[in-house]
């Protein structure tokens, strides 16, 4: 490396420039997709597409390549392609993930096979696309909005940094449904509101500005609520945002037991 004139004193001498990527060979991979067309199919069936991809490509890039140039009828949701919109949750190699946050090299070897299926526990509408309405019903059930009947100050309400930080994890949720559709309790009992709704409940229960905590604790204490959780940790493992979901659910449980008046 030729890094002679370092003109700025703020340069950290310990820092090496990032490694310069060399040309990486394309990988070959078999993408095995569980497909279902409600207009022509009685049941879902596997179709394999032989593709080439760079190791650093996202799985959503591979699916787009299939859709744009090979099998234009393939249906899946996607939008932002970098893990913030929550559209492309799917089961990749048997694990719930966002296709846009999954790199090819992490799920396949050269010449290997990747399986792609719709997330479980919600009705498959077409290919990888499921009916999200029950998921949003559960979300709406926990009153996912700030409640504050007391008049506000002219400016902002003050909140300590520590109290704001209590919402750091729960407010990070993008409603992608990776957690809820990985939960074995949700698979067998769809009336369980599921981890995503409980994360949203946590966000408001632990917001020191909110004034409806008791009402919220009442909702999650119902038999479709927090006590259904058997701490399988699937949700935590599935979350593409790294939210410690099981821990948040435990905090909600403790709040129901000790924080209810």
């Amino acid at each position: 490396m030729t890094q002679t004139p370092v003109t700025d004193s703020a340069v950290n001498p310990q820092v090496a420039a990032a490694p310069v990527a060399v040309d990486v060979p394309m990988m070959r991979l078999h993408v095995k997709i569980l497909r279902f067309n409600p207009e022509t199919d009685k049941k879902a069936h596997w179709v394999t597409y032989d593709m080439e991809a760079q190791p650093g490509d996202r799985m959503v890039d591979v699916l787009n390549e299939i859709k744009w140039y090979k099998e234009t009828g393939l249906a899946f949701r996607r939008s932002c392609q970098h893990g913030i919109c929550g559209s492309d949750a799917m089961l990749i190699n048997g694990r719930n993930r966002l296709a846009c946050k999954t790199l090819v090299r992490d799920v396949a070897k050269d010449g290997g096979t990747v399986t792609v299926e719709p997330i479980r526990g919600l009705k498959v509408e077409k290919d990888l696309l499921v009916d999200m309405e029950p998921f949003f019903d559960a979300y709406r059930a926990i009153m996912p909005y700030f409640i504050h009947p007391t008049p506000f100050p002219a400016k902002e309400q003050y909140q300590s940094e520590a109290n704001a930080e209590k919402m750091a994890h729960s407010s990070n949720c993008i409603l992608c449904a990776c957690c809820t559709t990985s939960c074995p309790i949700f698979w067998v009992n769809g009336s369980y509101i599921g981890p995503a709704a409980l994360v949203q409940a946590h966000r408001f229960i632990f917001d020191t500005r909110d004034e409806a905590k008791q009402q919220r604790l009442g909702v999650v204490n119902q038999n479709t609520g927090v006590w259904r959780c058997r701490t399988a940790y699937n949700c935590t493992e599935a979350c593409p945002r790294g939210i410690p979901i099981t821990q948040l659910i435990e905090e909600v449980k403790r709040e129901v037991m000790f924080g209810q008046s």
Binding site: V11, R203, D210
Partner: protein, 583 residues
């Protein structure tokens, strides 16, 4: 199917959700139509913050914010819009906090604020902390909070409905036509007022921070009616997109102290903007980076990227206040901002231009004060014009909520005063015809292939540095692409969830946006803000201190008629004379 609501909102991002709330407060029936699920909109991808002169860290005033906005826009900003904005945004930020938005906080518990490009104190003296933030996911929090409030108010949503036509009869908008993705059916939404808030068209470029779904649908539909698009030549390239991917890396990294470095590890922004360096506005930083790359000081395999250096910042700042971009850099580049230099390059980010509106969001039909009754627009797809020739960082989120709120309020006020207008005999006719053409065409063209060719050539010919020759070529090339588009065939015959059909339609929308953009750009023979011409290097206030209005020539396909609109050089109480723009 036929529906009837007083107010229809198209789009469920920040502007759509804010206008839906305010329309509902106006006591009228409201429905919101989105081609996505709620919370999937691209407002959620905004990271760094929302600028407002709260003065929580050091002294600040709305006048300073107004000045920075006008200067940042290279004096093409309408100053009445900038004044309304700089005042209103203070109130709206407090309102968002009262809706429960989880802002980051100062040690004393106020909304935290940080520095951002082009935001200064005392009319340009030094950088000021004006960007109110929630870590580096401010847009996500705004989107979630506004959706939550709409759930609370019981707003009716039509999810995954694609608007395909605007119904405009005798200068009045009477509704929209939409395609329901899950069934393939067309729906007519009869309305007293319609608010357009459907976002930008970044997918016209190859490297972009924009979602795949940002295809300028409503701009194109408006333009196809022979109505104008304003200032389409002004398109912002964000300096820091992740190399090759274009994924946004917030300007907040420079606000927190991040430094751009070239292959010599030199802090090159000292040469281009001596006073505020890395915190210069985006057009200047993106051009400086591109100049470094062109002169051989780029980094990476193709020497087409630049380093952003955060390694001198404490780990807690990087992983705390910049958690989102830390995750993105680690995930996609395998580079850890705590110890590695991260490779970035400019990425197509934001349309300053769009559907012209007045300060209340009312859509304008020409440059002389004409308007479309009952039709409102806000957000990126609208042009009020707050951003002029170059938008300041954080002013996009501000634009959504300030002008979304105004559009909602005034649309409801209008809807309360009028009866429903008449619909055409067969409102869905044009949409049906276009879908049938795409379904039954025996052409051989693939929409994805056309889109790819468009994106690559727009990047090359109407990108950061422009010249007359390349742009004139692009104008002609778009005509070729449009001829190819006439032969697009959709292979998938299914009715339910036919996303191929939708992507083909969206490609047609992108071609229109590109046409208006390239024609407006080649016509403007000066350099101003984000529009930088190698063959006309200076700003020319004598001839070009005016907005472009691009009209599709309905009698002569492929031809664009260019008109103009004066810039509002006076605010209501403050005005700033155009001056050379140095930082």
């Amino acid at each position: 199917m036929h529906h009837r609501y007083d107010v229809i909102v198209v789009g469920a991002g920040g502007a759509g959700l804010m206008s839906a709330l305010y329309a509902a407060k106006g006591g009228v029936s409201v429905a919101c139509i989105s081609k996505l699920y709620p919370t999937r909109s691209h407002t959620g991808a905004a990271q760094g913050g929302i600028g407002a002169a709260l003065g929580n860290i050091q002294e600040d005033h709305w006048e300073w914010h107004m000045f920075d906005t006008v200067k940042g826009g290279d004096y093409l900003t309408d100053q009445d819009a900038a004044e309304v904005f700089s005042k209103d945004i203070i109130d709206v930020v407090y309102e968002l906090e009262h809706m429960g938005l989880p802002f980051s906080r100062t040690p004393e518990g106020k909304i935290a604020q940080r520095k951002f490009g082009g935001h200064t104190r005392d009319f340009g003296k030094a950088a000021v902390e004006r960007s109110c933030y929630a870590k580096d996911r401010t847009g996500h929090m705004i989107l979630q909070t506004l959706y939550q409030q709409n759930v609370k108010e019981g707003t009716l949503f039509f999810n995954e409905f694609h608007v395909t036509d605007l119904l405009i009869e005798n200068g009045r908008c009477t509704g929209v036509v939409a395609y329901e993705l899950s069934t393939g059916e067309l729906h007519t939404f009869h309305a007293k007022a319609v608010i357009l808030a459907a976002g930008g068209y970044g997918r016209v470029f190859k490297i972009t921070s924009n979602a795949l779904t940002l295809t300028g649908d409503l701009m194109s539909i408006y333009y196809r009616k022979g109505l104008p698009l304003e200032d389409m030549e002004f398109y912002q390239f964000h300096p820091t997109g992740l190399a090759k991917l274009g994924i946004l890396v917030t300007e907040g990294i420079r606000g927190e102290g991040g430094i751009l470095r070239n292959s010599n590890l030199e802090r090159f922004m000292e040469r281009y903007a001596p006073s505020i360096k890395d915190l210069a506005p985006r057009d200047i930083v993106a051009r400086s980076m591109t100049t470094e790359i062109r002169e051989g000081r780029g980094v990476g395999k193709d020497k087409d990227a630049i380093y952003i250096d955060l390694t001198h910042l404490p780990r807690e700042v990087i992983e705390g206040k910049l958690a989102e971009i830390t995750d993105l850099a680690r995930t996609y580049l395998g580079q850890d901002p705590v110890k590695d230099l991260v490779m970035v390059q400019p990425t197509a980010h934001y349309a300053m231009g769009g559907i012209p509106t007045d300060l209340n969001g009312l859509c304008l039909s020409d440059g002389n004060g004409g308007s479309i009754e009952g039709l409102y627009a806000a957000g990126e797809q609208a042009c009020v014009s707050l951003h002029g020739a170059n938008r300041l960082g954080t002013n996009s989120l501000g634009d959504l909520v300030v002008f979304g709120r105004r559009a909602g309020k005034y649309a409801a006020e209008y809807a309360r005063q009028v009866e429903f207008g008449d619909l055409p005999d067969d409102p869905e006719a044009d949409s049906r015809q276009e879908f049938e053409r795409l379904r039954t065409s025996n052409g051989k063209e693939n929409a994805a292939g056309i889109r790819k060719d468009l994106q690559e050539t727009m990047m090359k010919n109407v990108g950061i540095f422009r010249n007359g020759k390349d742009m004139a070529y692009q104008v002609e090339y778009i005509k070729e692409l449009k001829a190819r588009y006439a032969n697009v065939a959709v292979a998938d015959p299914s009715r339910k969830y036919n996303s191929e059909l939708i992507e083909a339609l969206e490609t047609g929308f992108l071609l229109d946006c590109a046409e208006a953009m390239a024609s407006s750009a080649v016509n403007r023979t000066e350099s101003r803000g984000a529009h930088d011409r190698e063959d006309f290097h200076s700003r020319d206030d004598v001839n070009w201190l005016k907005h472009t209005m691009a009209y599709k020539d309905l009698n002569n396909p492929g031809n664009v008629i260019i008109g103009y609109k004066p810039v509002a050089l006076k605010g209501f109480t403050r005005s700033f004379e155009p001056k050379p723009r140095v930082y």
